[in-house]
Amino acid sequence: MGQETDRIVVVGAGHAGGSVVAFLRQYGWSGPITLVGAEPIPPYHRPPLSKAWLKGEADAASLALRPENFYADNAIELRLGTVATAIDRATHTLSLNCGESLAYDHLILALGARARKLPLPGADLVGVMELRTAADADRLKAAIGEGRRLAIIGGGYIGLEAAASAQALGAEVTIIEREPRLLARVASPPLSTFFQDFHRSKGVAIELDAGVEALEGQGGQIAAIRLSNGKTIQCDAVLIGVGAVANDELARACGLSCGNGIEVDAASRTSDPAIYAIGDCTFRPLEPYSRNVRLESVPNAIEQSKQAAASLCGRPPPAPEIPWFWSDQYNIRLQIAGMPFDVTETILRGDPATGSFAVFHLAPDATVRSVEAVNAPPEFMAGKLLIAKRKPVPRERLADMAVSMKDLL
């Protein structure tokens, strides 16, 4: 069958789903494309949900991935508010919750991830929230005005960004973290210390080493959190931000290989040649690190969208990228490139007390594996290039702010 008649169905209208349909048309795919999404609105940017959008500094148009008429203009059929319920690989059909089914020649799963639930007593009280969708963000926004007390369970990126935004809106914020430091799973100790100090200096309370015993309510509404350390935090609202889990059930149910997410190759193909998977729901090879990982980031969603679109359109695969991520809190921009796999050494460049510094993580052969840059774009950009080059760097020069990053490349 040729492109002219082959039907592509994309399931999941998030960042990856919204991107892959655009790349398919850019790369010249001329056959029919249908984008099926459970949410009621077309694909949008999630990063602002904990940042500008939460603070009321972004409008709906700027949140949208593409303008509304984009899909019709590019002959992309949108099926919003529609959940795919099953895949029949033998007959190439996708069942929808409305009772209909869609035939496909190529299926792309862009199912994303969902907020992890905590099996806690009281988790169903009114005022206990999570933050994954625009609808979640609107609920949270309504709960965090001046003087409202917000308790955030989980000191990861989403929790910290929400804390910064809520604090800016005048809310009283407490972050509750089970580990002995913030960002324990996703950043190095110097970063944790820096963000702990910064949030505290802004008036955010932080409870570390603190497990949650129960959420306590009054008349069905959240009122307090009881901690394992004996403390009780009074609050008007709770945000649970303890990570995300891949939406891979649809894939598992039809027998596709899954690990921590749907297993794909470097072209985003699953174990079924007619099915691709992209974005947060995938367990993917990461060539520069010779490993398989599940990433949750916009750059990853875009890279895999390009891989799948290029493969379907018969174009050469895009060059492999170094994974990266950013986070904005207050006036701090954190940019991270690479992954700290096989690292044995940490090099600090700059002084955290100045609010601008970078932490480089090196393998035993003195090659840079990852960099965490706080208000330090040159270190981020040059660090990304150094990671890709795999060139050993002189440690003393890397630590010396008097040596320009340019001279290290």
Partner: protein, 110 residues
């Protein structure tokens, strides 16, 4: 509406309508112009919206959009294939005076 022309590295030109008040990057995204990825959505965090301003437009862009601010300048100084006329297109706002603007795209954005 002002028009902006994006020329791909392979020479393919795309002339699109660009809304005033929005960025040059958004004009590309709105019209699905290949070669502008804009991973960060215009936050000046990714440098995947890198363009070269055609020489005859450099003075006008400078007058309308100003010189790159600190964040843009430091991102640009390390972007792959940076030239003197490099800009991040998310940091240039479309105005009537920029009607006819021509920008070129680098070979890759990563």
């Amino acid at each position: 509406m002002p028009k902006v022309t994006f020329i791909e590295h392979n020479g393919t030109a795309h002339t699109v309508e660009a809304k005033t008040g929005l960025s040059v990057m958004l004009a590309a995204i709105t019209n699905n112009v290949p070669g502008i990825d804009a991973d960060c959505g215009g936050e000046c965090a990714c440098a995947t919206c890198h363009v070269y301003i055609e020489p005859e437009w450099q003075a006008k862009v400078l007058a309308e959009a100003g010189a790159p601010a600190a964040q843009e300048a430091s991102m640009l100084s390390f972007a792959a294939t940076t030239q003197d006329n490099s800009r991040l297109s998310c940091q240039i706002t479309v105005t009537e005076a920029l009607d006819g603007l021509v920008v070129r795209m680098p070979e890759g954005q990563h």
